[in-house]
Amino acid sequence: MSTLSEVELSHLRQTANRLRQHTVAMLAAAQSGHSAGPLGMAEIMTALYFSVMRHDPKRPNWEERDVFFLSNGHTAPVLYAALAEAGYFPLQELGSLRRFGSRLQGHPERGALPGLESTSGPLGEGLSQAAGYAYALKHLNPAPRRFCYVVMGDGELNEGNVWEAAMFASKYGLGQLIALIDRNYIQIDGSTEAVMPLDDLAAKWRAFGWHTLEIDGNDVAQVVAACHAGQAVRSRPSVIIAHTVPGAGVDFMEYDYRWHGQAPNREEAEEALAQLSEVEARL
């Protein structure tokens, strides 16, 4: 574990900004898809793919790699952007999101793209799969250097399957499992606390026996540090409740749940990219 230098930090912030720009452009080209979640998750995906995880885009099935499961598959654009920026496939392909014949399916489909570890979209199923993988890393094919990461949305914590997995991972002491929750307080029908209240969310995870952290999920340094803190606890799984701003980086999308499942039109996309470029210039 090492703290990030200012240069590294600056580089990560630029990467997060680029993931946001790709996301806006992809959604605008597709005229379909989800905006708020992927934008809010840019620092989480940046931290994982450009700092925390051991992986090699040239060897997507490298046996020593860390494994990433995206549970809230509707945030696929930011995963696709991260995979492309990391070098798993050409950046030019990002424009094909949601097109017929594209490898960038509306929701991620394993086998379609190198580096894509799991099919997802139906909510609440990522944590179980990550737990299964982490079980293998700990109990079946011990590989103490490898970790298994999963990102979940907060809305999908409504699903019972998630809490079944939470009990399972706790029972079997899956210390190599690190879950990150994109805590943006929105879901399709409105505020998470109005649709189906989740707070006190940290208390819930602690009660399930998890090593529980809460951070500002739009601060990439905090995401990296929390992942390292999670790696250090080997007796039980870690969950990082990453508080994020939905639609982060685009002022007219921020905190507005209506952008959960909506794509920007060309005009909105131009405005969003202008805002993001302005931030980029300052980084």
């Binding site: 494994v67 499961f69 489909e109 394993r110 086998g111 570890e117 799991s118 099919t119 997802s120 979209g121 139906p122 609440g124 199923e125 179980s128 799969q129 990550a130 737990a131 299964g132 993988y133 982490a134 079980y135 293998a136 890393l137 109990h139 079946l140 094919n141 019972g160 399957n161 079944e164 997995a165 009990m167 399972f168 079997y172």
Partner: protein, 331 residues
């Protein structure tokens, strides 16, 4: 002095009247799973709090490090298995069929099949004969649910010997798969050295009047019915179809071309089940009248095994009567 007297509460039990040796199909699965575990160290067993009744106990005792108890959580059962499959293992997941695939269908579709992971779904206590548990526990829709999923293998072995072989075959197969198991002791009609592969249907008798396609523990009943049909001067060609998907339409078609009529027999809903699969397939290549015997769009209910097979007209004598009427009517 108690007012309740046990003499007022008589015990009533009746096993299936089969004649000949019997064994629960699930026990054959249990033996097959141990054998699969011996052959391949990647084979795992996961159970949702039903280790004994799904016959996973022997595997759990023999390979405790490869047995995973997930508790009463069928959705987690299947999705954890998908993660283990991604890590290179071959997970068998067991519960009652009423709960998995009953409760875990979408997880199976998404995280096993669409996700290209060779998760094996073991549905125990499938069919009408589940003890006395009643309609909530009688899984009659499993074949319909599982065969509509692309890339999914669907097996309904006919007896315990075949279940053992089918389990080994499923472990060696790279696809996700479903295996349907019955609870009660049913006839051991197959030979120990009979071949088994995923795919083929097996012609068991020769007859020119009607093709009877049966699956699961209905096959020995269909064989018995074929014997009874000789009294009506009807020669039935019985085809055992332990693989419902992919369906061996060639074998069924080859027979139906000669007999010109087909009866299907299954211990589950005819809607979406084997009967549907056969009717759909034949109607495209060689339309012949098809009579589907099984559960006729009804729920199950509490009852002794033989009572249930009688009530749903699935015992050999009921099958013989219905097949005979169909043959006479379609001549």
């Amino acid at each position: 002095m108690t007012m309740v007297k046990l003499t007022d509460y008589p015990v009533e039990t009746s096993a299936l009247s089969t004649g000949g040796p019997v064994e629960p199909i699930r026990q054959g699965f249990g033996r097959g799973l141990v054998a699969a575990g011996e052959r391949n160290s990647k084979v795992l067993a996961l159970c949702a709090d039903l280790t004994d009744s799904t016959s996973m106990r022997a595997f759990a005792d023999r390979f405790p490090e490869r047995f995973i108890e997930v508790g009463v959580a069928e959705q987690n059962l299947v999705t954890v298995a998908a993660g283990l499959a991604h890590a290179g293992f071959i997970p068998f997941t067991a519960s009652y069929a009423a709960f998995s695939p009953g409760r875990s269908w979408e997880q199976i579709k998404t995280t096993a099949s669409l996700n290209r992971q060779p998760v094996k779904i073991v549905g125990a206590h499938a069919g009408l004969v589940t003890g006395l548990d009643g309609a909530t526990h009688q899984m009659l829709e499993d074949i319909a649910l599982m065969r509509v999923i692309p890339n999914m293998v669907v097996l309904a072995p006919g007896d315990a010997r075949e279940a053992e072989k089918a389990t080994l075959a499923l472990a060696a197969d790279e696809r996700p798969g479903y295996i349907r198991l019955a609870r009660e002791a049913t006839s051991l009609f197959s030979q120990s050295d009979a071949p088994f592969e995923i795919g083929p249907a097996y012609q068991l008798t020769i007859g020119h009047d009607v093709t009877v396609v049966a699956t699961g523990p209905m096959t020995p009943e269909a064989l018995h019915a074929a014997d009874l049909l000789t009294d009506q001067n009807i020669a039935a060609e019985v085809i055992h179809c332990p693989t419902v998907k992919p369906l061996d339409l060639d074998t069924i078609w080859a027979s139906a071309k000669r007999t010109r009529r087909v009866v299907t027999v299954e211990e589950g809903q005819i809607i979406g089940g084997l009967g549907s699969a056969v009717a759909e397939g034949l109607s495209e290549v060689h339309p012949v009248p098809v009579k589907r015997l099984g559960v006729q769009d009804r729920f199950g209910q509490t009852g002794q095994p033989q009572e249930l097979w009688n009530a749903y007209e699935l015992s050999a004598s009921h099958l013989a009567r219905q097949i005979g009427a169909f043959v006479r009517q379609s001549r």
